[in-house]
Assembly symmetry: C2
Homo-oligomer: 652 residues x 2
């Protein structure tokens, strides 16, 4: 009947504990960290386990002076970016600017020990700074009670750390998977829009401004305070912004020019855009100091004390009145900053053909934020701009972060007062310029071309953030993503297969119109787990296929074969549906056959006695075999019918 | 190279609008209602459309006296059940008992017109009555302000109707799919436990009782009021309960006896358990009337006025203070009652080989509840007990509901005052007996045997309802179900394929240990949509397969083939992951091949230029073809290497 002696393997179902352990391992340890050294001896095992959990022990022994040269250069470059960015983003969170500098000293050192990425540069981020201000500002005004506000920021950073560490230890890197690339693109774009608009406060030199973050209110606030507009500030801002934007594009421009002149290939000019923020700050400070800018409408940062991070352990505030807000701020910013950091770390790791571990990164971020919150730092992660500069400057290991920390320490000890002359307008220009680079138009267009639903998810985040709030945008977008995931699950694609002429290949009839129909046999391929959310749909769909088939061909459908090779699992509702289906099909005199069920599916079918109900002979290993068997039955029954009728005739 | 001239079909991607329309159709019209008569003429089409939306026009023209005979019998039987059930469940919702009778008069008539099930008998249900009381009782005490409470019940029933109708018109039957069979089993069981326990109030004749519904509080309340226990009531309750339980089991018992005596097969004794509640009520009424039961500690229902349903249109209360509670009660009870009704209707339809349409049923329930709320009825659906009795009594069409309505009308007009003598203890016994039948032990054990996760979902509902509240139980269980759906999606099963000896079949190596390895070629089968929630897992998993393979075999993996026939769709993140994968594999000198991508997947890959990145030659129609091609490349390169080394030798 068939060309092989193999049959479907109806082995006894595997032990529950065993499969459960396997499933847990797949869910929480998809990278199988211990599989690599399970054959080693105990001492070696302990050493490798420590190395696995604390990556510095892995790379430090192999560290040498040659690598250090690269890391020093990279570390100095990112410090030159860290100073203006630290001050700017602290202003964005409405914190004392020195907190931003503190945050680039301790956390990078912690990350060096626990981080698994060679490329990540640690620092504060714009979106989360704003989000923190938005959430905590609703409970305590940063204007009226700056001390309490600051303490709540520490507390929320502490919760962020606890949350991230807990996720890392629980191996819940899976949560990060649910923030899709489209969501992040839209979220970043929307955030960039509102942060840029908010910088108009600094550019125009406004004193009064809204604390709201949606586009409409911010624009209203800009025009509402028209009498406060200062032209000096505006001109300075415009100049700085132009300089920064030119510096950003100078590299491709110079590259093009040089290639055109054929003098030199690939000039390494990344530093032009990397040090331009520092240049802006320097020029700004000089102007403010020498030209007494403050008297001409150019406000300055002011008040940056010398000295290293003081302890903030006594400032953590667990007052039940503020607890809901601090926990919420901590968890939400923790999640977003983590996703940003891991996504960026992963992108650069791929470029360099390295690997980073999401769960280890989470633990590193967690420790970074816990210890940060105790040493006057606020939320840090791996920001895109800094990391990109770090990679461009040629960093080799996390040692670049140590260099950054060291430079920042020197700055805090000796140079801090100089930066108190930084004009606010310079900071506004720096943030704005950074933000304009975060709106990824090409990606959005690409999404629109390839996948409209992904584009909708992206736009939900984009418009949700710009016209609602950051929470709304994020929730909307994640909600849409989950809806899509559930729709995938609730309405799985099924297709009808036909035979390709002159082969034993069975393909989708819609995709390959040249396939031939099978005269009375309907072959359907299911492509999704079968379970409660889609089982009634699958039943309807199968019955509809039969109706459609009967309407089109002259043959009555006698056999229906379900190719289950794409069905990874099934639950009780799914099996019940198949049992129902057998009953319905019996009423229509159609026989059901199951082709190539996978091990998980077959196990459940055996346990639920479905195999007994249908009979083992209705399970086939391949479509070819199933069809031959069906044809055989059909021929036999036709012959019997013919025989039967001839017999009747005889009797007559 | 291959035995067929067929290649992967790289047709131009289909038009977005077209695929979008198709997807929407699959999502909202999986049963393709208009497909059946798209070839008819206009007039015929209009007629069929009306028949489609208002099913009575379909079956009434074919109705005859023979069918009517059956329906009359069934209708009278279900009325005998409707009277005690109506009164009991109204007491459960703490409503005047007459409301329960009203609710069995109007709604059945409405259902006859719009309902699509021939088996469903309309009436009130225990679980939703209690849930309504729980939700609305939290806002307005049914003891202190019974009138306002009653009006809120009407209002919430009105919202239920609106909600159900809206869902039906929006074709959102898909929502019902997300309440799995396991959830319903657990929910019903938990509800049965708490409702049974609450009946101890009636059985023991207590006056004071808790309004809470969790097991702990209810048991506390029973023992707290020990001084109120009335032995007369308890004895009567026990007698009634025993009678009802015996009547329930009398049928199987008698059947067994008769089969044993071989006198008669299948005696039709369903009526014994069907009319037993009515018998209990009759005996109770007689005892209360003749024996002045009230003086002996047997409380009666009291106060049932003659007359048909009064209008309640002016009682709908849209006061903003109560709106959140009424809407919540309406939506939650609407959803649960709908699921119960549709599930039950579907079960019996399958037994009788008929079809019911979830969306039509929703609209029917919706109209039933909207009109019910305007005519002094409260929430109705298709309860299990009544429907089962209806089917057993031999109903043929929804006409049985008309008969029920007619009988109920007669009762309301002439017999209502008689039932005012019904002892509360009789009602408690009836409810308790009905509830004990709802705890489906066998199903729970079956779930435990077959699928531990389904069992956990069921137990979450069961214990959530019994020890928390009905909302908590339902949320917990649905949450777990969704979590499982998302886990299916986030951690899709992938498996390694090997060739079965002497065939061209490729099967899971774990399932079929006799499969042979393919020497340097790794074939993986993915079995789920590839997208944001699982793409990084899939990447990790594929890389891990390569590591595992390299550790086990002596051959270096040179080719990796991904069988995508089970991958129904892909999104941008998924495609980005594959692009990353190519880059990583290139670093390891491994070539990627794609086998049999489905139309949706190939379209997206073409649009996203993935096909251009990988090259069309790396797409194969079958595993066999792909392996032949890989082998050819491997042979060629080995020869070239050999050639190259010999050349080098020559030069040396």
């Amino acid at each position: 009947m068939t060309d092989s002696k193999h049959t479907v393997n109806f082995a006894t179902p595997r032990n529950f504990i065993k499969t459960f352990k396997k499933d847990c391992k797949e869910t929480f340890f998809p990278d199988d960290p211990f599989g690599k050294f399970q054959h080693d001896k105990t001492l070696q095992k302990i050493k490798k386990t420590i190395q696995y959990f604390i990556p510095i022990f892995e790379w430090l022994p192999r560290y040498n002076l040659n690598l250090f040269r690269y890391d020093v250069l990279a570390g100095i470059t990112i410090t030159s970016l860290a100073i203006p960015q630290g001050i700017s983003y602290a202003k964005l969170a409405d914190l004392p600017p020195i907190i931003g500098l503190y945050s680039s000293f301790v956390p990078p050192l912690i990350y060096t020990v626990f981080g698994s990425s060679n490329n990540l540069a640690v620092g504060t981020v714009a979106a989360c700074s704003l989000l923190m201000h938005e959430t905590l500002g609703a409970v305590v005004s940063s204007k009226d009670d700056p001390t309490l506000y600051l303490h709540l920021v520490y507390t929320s950073t502490f919760f962020t750390g606890i949350f991230q560490t807990a996720l890392g230890f629980c191996r819940l890197g899976i949560l990060v998977d649910f923030l899709s690339h489209s969501t992040i693109t839209g979220f970043m774009g929307g955030t960039a829009i509102i942060i840029s608009l908010q910088q108009m406060k600094g550019i125009l030199g406004l004193k009064n401004f809204t604390t709201r973050t949606d586009v409409v209110r911010v624009i209203q606030a800009i025009f509402h305070n028209r009498n406060e507009w200062k032209w000096q500030s505006f001109v300075a801002g415009l100049v700085f912004l132009c300089f920064l934007q030119v510096a950003r594009y100078v590299k491709p421009f110079l590259v093009l020019t040089m290639c055109f002149l054929q003098r030199q290939r690939k000039p390494n000019l990344f530093w032009v855009s990397a040090i331009s923020p520092m240049a802006v700050v320097a020029v700004g400070c000089l102007y403010a100091y020498l030209g007494h800018g403050e008297q001409h409408g150019i406000a300055i940062v002011g008040d940056l004390k010398k000295g290293l991070n003081p302890s903030s352990i006594h400032y953590l505030n667990f007052d039940s009145r503020y607890l809901p807000a601090t926990i919420r701020a901590g968890v939400v910013t923790g999640l977003i900053s983590m996703v940003e950091g891991i996504a960026i770390g992963r992108s650069f790791a791929i470029v360099k053909n390295e690997q980073i571990d999401g769960n280890k990164e989470m633990i590193a971020y967690g420790f970074m934020n816990i210890i940060g919150s105790l040493t006057s730092c606020y939320l840090t992660t791996g920001p895109f701009s800094k990391t990109a500069v770090n990679v461009n400057s040629g960093c080799k290991t996390p040692m670049a972060n140590v260099v950054q920390g060291f430079c920042m320490m020197l700055t805090l000890l000796f140079l801090a007062p100089i930066f108190s002359y930084t004009p606010l307008v310079a900071l506004a220009a720096i943030i704005m310029s950074a933000m304009l680079g975060l709106i990824n138009y090409e990606e959005m267009y690409h999404l629109y071309k390839v996948d409209k639903f992904d584009f909708a998810i992206c736009m939900a985040a984009f418009f949700g953030v710009s016209f609602g709030s950051m929470d709304i945008g994020l929730l909307l977008s994640v909600g849409l993503s989950l809806l899509r995931a559930l729709l995938y699950v609730a309405r799985p694609a099924a297709c009808k297969l036909g035979r390709l002429p002159n082969t034993s290949l069975y393909c989708d009839t819609e995709q390959y119109p040249e396939t031939m129909s099978l005269e009375g046999i309907l072959v359907l391929q299911l492509g999704s787990p079968v379970y409660f959310a889609n089982c009634s749909y699958i039943r309807e769909r199968i019955l509809r296929y039969i109706n459609e088939e009967d309407a089109v061909t002259e043959y009555r459908t006698e056999h229906i074969l379900l190719d289950l090779s794409g069905v990874a699992s099934i639950d009780m509702s799914g099996i019940d549906t198949f049992i129902e289906l057998i009953r319905v099909l019996k009423g229509k005199h159609i026989k059901l056959g199951i082709v190539n069920p996978r091990i998980e599916v077959l196990e459940k079918m055996t346990l639920a006695k479905f195999v007994d109900v249908l009979g083992k002979q209705a399970f086939y290993l391949s479509i070819e075999e199933a069809i031959q068997s069906c044809r055989f039955t059909m021929d036999t029954s036709t012959k019997e019918e013919a025989l039967g009728s001839s017999k009747t005739e005889d009797v007559v």
